[in-house]
């Protein structure tokens, strides 16, 4: 099945839910959906397009919004589902009921971008330390690391 056929089928199956379908490269298909319809779109892709393998989830800070990319791989193509949530209320539904292997990637998103994954089975931090100050999300573009001033015992001479 060629990329054009897959895109046509996806557009038919998803109907109005697919806001934008692009194909920047061979075997790479990007589908944009609304966050409210993410779970149903992922369920459909899993059942009809054999997208049961989620490679990873990427987050992206676009200023006013956060973009979340779910990279699925089926034997036919690499289908990436894209959704955008506003920075003011970054809520997105967990896809773990459909793809149980997604939990680590969703936890990473919470740590790194401060997104709120609703109904995530395990909301604990994954990569940031236990004493990490609240409200610090390293992969947001406005976050800068400030190295604490070095204190030399006895002072510099």
């Amino acid at each position: 099945m060629s990329d054009a056929d897959i895109i046509q089928r996806i557009q038919q199956d998803l109907g109005g839910r697919a806001i934008e379908v692009t194909n920047p490269d061979r075997r790479r298909i990007f589908v944009k959906v609304n966050p409210a319809e993410l779970l149903s779109a992922v369920t459909l892709l899993r059942d009809k397009y054999d997208c049961r393998y989620l490679a990873t989830i990427s987050g992206l800070d676009k200023g006013e919004t956060f973009e979340i990319l779910y990279h699925f791989a089926s034997p036919a193509a690499n289908i990436n589902v894209r959704t955008e949530v506003p920075r003011a209320s970054p809520h997105v539904e967990s896809i773990t009921p459909v793809i149980p292997g997604a939990v680590l990637y969703e936890r990473e998103l919470q740590d790194m971008f401060g997104l709120v994954i609703d109904h995530i089975p395990d909301p604990r931090p994954l990569v940031v330390p236990d004493d990490w100050p609240a409200g610090n999300y390293p992969l947001r573009k406005d976050w800068k690391y400030e190295r604490p001033e070095e204190i030399i015992p006895g002072g510099k001479s």
């Binding site: 920047p24 490679a55 987050g59 791989a73 149980p100 292997g101 680590l104 990637y105 990569v127 330390p129």
Partner: protein, 400 residues
Amino acid sequence: MKFQIPIGPQHPALKEPISLRMTVEGEVIRDVDIRLGYNHRGLEKLAEERSFIQNIYLTERICGICSHSHTTCFVQGVEKLMELAPPRRGMYIRYLVSELERVHSHLLWLGVAGHEAGFDSFFMYTWRDREVVMDLLELISGNRVHYAMNTVGGVRRDLDEGQKAKILEGIAVLRKRSEYYFKIGANEPSFVARIAGVGLLTKEQAVSLCAVGPTARASSITRDVRKEDPYAVYDEMDFEVGTADSCDVLGRVVVRVKELLESYKIIEQIVRKLPEGPIVVKAPRKAKPNEVVSRYEAPRGENIHYIKSNGSEKPERLKVRAPTLANYPATIEMLRNGFIADIPLIFAAIDPCICCAERTVTLVNYRSGEETTVRLSDLRRRAAERQKNAPPKRNAVWPF
């Protein structure tokens, strides 16, 4: 009575420190909890501050064993962004190093598996033979670990006729040795009995938990990016995807031995077909705003990089997913309902790199809060004892 055993965070079996907390009932593991991030280096943030060329050397340092995998994955993505077509000779040399790296990684892993199963002569054999491929890598790149072969638009070093002859010679030696490993299970039934039925991961679990690489292929999933989504030179190569259907550590050994032989086949084809011509094209410093998903089959499984460019010489975003992370949820399932004595074996089976020999495990009695520290050697002694008591798995057969 339930105990909890923490393993890590300083866990010498992994490059990244990791903490595993196991709830055990007697010798049986009932639940596993995983905690990461003890050595989070903020590499994705750092990559946004570096140019594409600098990022090649940054991604090379993600991992020591599969350093070439990360740079190749990154570079093939950047070449797409810059709309470059690297010369064919350069591509052949790049994927020649990839396959040599797979051989060295799998030989290393086979030795570790033998060591964890208490079969140390196997460990000595494979690690001796691994020197052959390490010498070849040094011959090609000048380095044993960080090869620094890749650059945007091709590779940095060429091959001459003498090197080609040496590679073919070395591969002939390795093939002979690997065929011996094929037979080793038939001569050594205790090794097969030790690894059969340990760390079960059914096909359904492997699919739903998104396992990758040899871990998934040992559960009869034929997913290999080289075959499924052939990048660069792999559609010109003749090779098979090695799978096994026993879903246990035995299957993971079988898959890796099969992959070794397939890699030798690919290496020989690359060396024999090596086209003439330049090895690198000049690359621009900037990339147009675009995005790319780059997939690569690393020795441990699929490696995926998502790169977004914004028209400058630095990437807007670089997302790296290394295969070990994808295998953690599956590892939890493998450890569940297994024995404490099988922890080293199961853990080694997802191919973390065991670089130190000693590690400690603390047993905490949750009623009294009493802690006992167990050394790895002690854990191995327990493993040997359990084997003595357990009846050998008579139905376990070496599949070759």
